[in-house]
């Protein structure tokens, strides 16, 4: 029967053209919008997790109270012990030591006096350990613009914009001036080994990346850490699991009133990310709902129009003795086929537009130059497995739903009046 219906759909294009076009457009919009939304929001969450929050983050209570100020004087001490405990308790998590601090990058002239300088926001990560995943996690390799990733103590990476502003070239020396964990002045000379661009205004403005061993020496933070970030081994943020781990960790220490006791936060509990995560979930659901609802109304109307146009056909079929139920069934099957065809066309078109959006994105850098949030400068779509079927759900469902509603009219036809209606 499917083959018979398919032939009917293809041969009588007037019957199927409009619904297929409408479904294709709807599915196309759904695919493009969902891939773009998941790309943009996913990038924002991912970037925030990788650079700032982790999936979970451990700090001291005192540090957490003033976390925006990066108070390294309130850092976690004896961090090796804590990491060992966390690795044993949560074997499916990976832990990354981070020290974030501010200071001044100062470029000397021939006399060793200030030639150029600028405020810097430094992120110290483990670049040198052979097992460290930080280079990949922070996407440093792909973000390199010039030079190389630091390979020896004293090497440092600067954001490309910052390096240009300071007039620095690869191999040039500079001094980082800041404060140690205890507040003493600290000066350390570095060699710029490379420059990078993350595509985020907040990072590209004055960011500096160095190995954690250099930072520890410079800031007097041996066996101390500002922030300990935890990531799920599979790389995917699981909101429920992160909250569960944080609650479990904190419950063990709830009896202590030590302000330097460690405290763990799930990503949703930091940087207003909870609202963002909830918003993402809500938006995805809302979009699917709005699409199904709107498309159902449109296709219901399309079905009604088709039904009216096929009023005579149904009448003849009823007059010839075909059962109302059978006609309704074929109508639904037809709707299924038309929905599937429209969804396939819409998905192909949607993916065709989503792919360049994924590869090249839309550049909003001029609008995000002064934004302090972790926002990507180039907004990119993300084609996931979901993109291949998300359009089918509303595409097929709305067509079937629309036709199912409009097809009810078949049951209201009275056989006795058929010939009069058909003017035979």
């Amino acid at each position: 029967m499917i083959q018979f219906l398919l032939k009917g759909i293809l041969r009588d294009a007037r019957r199927s053209r409009l619904p297929i076009i409408i479904i294709s457009i709807g599915v196309f919009l759904t695919v493009v919008m969902t891939t773009f939304m998941s790309g943009v929001i996913g990038d924002m969450l991912d970037m925030t997790a990788k650079f700032q929050t982790g999936h979970v983050k451990v700090m001291t209570r005192a540090y957490a109270d003033n976390a925006d100020l990066l108070p390294n004087d309130l850092a976690i001490l004896e961090v090796d012990e804590l990491i060992t405990e966390l690795e044993q308790t949560y074997p499916k998590m990976e832990w990354a030591e981070r020290i974030r601090f501010g200071g001044l990058v100062d470029v000397p002239d021939e006399q060793g006096e200030t030639r150029e300088q600028g405020p810097a926001s430094a992120q110290a990560v483990d670049l040198f350990s052979p097992n460290s995943k930080e280079v990949d996690r922070l996407n440093i390799r792909k973000s390199m613009v010039t030079g190389d990733i630091p390979s020896q103590p004293g090497d440092i990476l600067l954001s490309d914009d910052f390096a240009k502003k300071l007039g620095l070239s690869i191999g040039d020396k500079m001094t980082f001036f800041g404060s140690t964990m205890d507040g003493s002045m600290t000066f350390k000379n570095f060699r710029m080994s490379g420059t990078l661009r993350f595509g985020t205004a907040a990072l590209d403005r004055g960011s500096v990346i160095l190995d954690i061993s250099d930072a520890r020496q410079m800031l007097d933070m041996e066996d101390a850490i500002g922030e300990l970030l935890g990531y799920a081994s599979n790389g995917t943020y699981d909101d429920n699991r992160a909250v569960e781990i944080a609650n479990e960790f904190n419950a063990k220490r709830s009896g202590s009133d030590d302000e330097f006791a460690p405290i763990m936060f799930a990503m949703r509990d930091m940087n207003d990310m909870g609202a963002m995560i909830d918003y993402t979930k809500a938006m995805t659901g809302l979009m699917a709902f709005i699409f199904v609802f709107a498309m159902s109304i449109v296709l219901w109307n399309t079905g009604l129009l088709g039904g009216l146009r096929r009023y005579r056909e149904f009448g003849i079929r009823l007059a010839m003795g075909e059962e109302k139920r059978h006609i309704y069934k074929t109508l639904i099957y037809e709707a299924l086929l038309i929905g599937a065809l429209g969804s396939i066309i819409g998905t192909i078109l949607g993916l065709a537009v989503a792919w360049p959006l994924q590869e090249f994105g839309l550049d909003f850098s001029s609008m995000t130059q002064n934004v302090g949030m972790m926002l990507p400068a180039v907004y990119k779509a993300k084609i996931t497995a979901t993109a291949f079927f998300i359009g089918f759900i509303p595409g097929v469902f709305s067509m079937v739903f629309g036709n199912a509603l409009s097809g009810i009219g078949i049951y209201k036809r009275k056989t006795a009046q058929l010939f009069k209606e058909l003017e035979v």
């Binding site: 001044l104 006399q111 060793g112 200030t114 405020p119 404060s179 000066f187």
Partner: protein, 242 residues
């Protein structure tokens, strides 16, 4: 004779009338400012985890030039800070670099203390920088004080207004509250251990409290103060940093 009596009475009445705000500030300036001074100091920074003690020796000339050399602890030893008019240079022996401090860095804390570089730079006479108004009299640490409200009359000032408690007898501030343009209280200083040194009253201990951060404040204790000495002019050059 009659004229002489009137003149004496007039002079006597002038002497008895209370000083106005400007006169009070002038007397404070006479105590606190000098052509030059040399002192050693101990700065105790009370952090949330531990306290640190930093010692230094300073030479200053007027409000434009000063040099501070840090003597201890080992990490700070040999670090020098040179102020030349509105410029501040820091020399670090460990990196062999001379770095200029400017812009927003001037508002940063010096060595984790409650003092900013701007605070260290500010050495102008109060009468040059502020308009003053007497708002009352209060007792502070058992001493009767004038309460003055100072409002900046120049643009390049770290604190737009101040409330200051001036010892009525010695004309030395015993407490100051420093405010931003918005009216927010930024810092409080408590001055004590007032001693007479070379004919002037001078507080040897100042406790700074940055009101925007937690902590117990920073004690700044001056020792071996001497005023109006012969200081070689080449001391206030960048060459003396290294």
């Amino acid at each position: 004779m009659k004229t002489i009596i009137i003149a004496v009475l007039a002079l006597f009445s002038v002497q008895l009338s209370p000083p106005d705000a400007y006169e009070i500030l002038q007397k404070v300036d006479a105590n606190m400012s000098s052509d030059n001074r040399i002192f050693e100091s101990t700065m105790i920074v009370h952090g949330r985890r531990r306290s640190r003690t930093i010692t230094s020796k300073s030479w200053s000339e007027g409000s434009e030039r000063s040099l501070t050399e840090y003597l201890s602890p080992a990490r700070e030893q040999g670090t020098k800070m040179l102020k030349l008019a509105k410029e501040l240079w820091i020399f670090s022996p460990s990196s062999d670099r001379t770095i200029k401090i400017s812009g927003h860095m001037m508002r940063q804390s010096v060595m984790g203390s409650d003092l900013s570089y701007e605070d260290m730079m500010e050495d102008r006479k109060l009468t040059d920088v502020y308009h003053a108004e007497i708002t009352g009299e209060e007792e502070m640490d058992g001493r009767l004080c004038y309460v003055l409200e100072l409002t900046a009359k120049v643009e390049d000032v770290a604190y737009q207004s101040r409330k200051t408690w001036i010892d009525k007898e010695r004309f030395v501030p015993l407490r100051e509250e420093l405010f931003a343009k918005s009216g927010q209280l930024l810092k409080r200083t408590d001055l004590s251990e007032v001693e007479q040194i070379q004919g002037r009253w001078f507080p040897k201990k100042i406790v700074y409290k940055d009101m925007l951060k937690d902590g117990k404040g920073t004690e700044f204790i001056m020792t071996n103060i001497s005023f109006n000495q012969n200081i070689a002019p080449q001391l206030f050059t960048k060459a003396s940093l290294k």
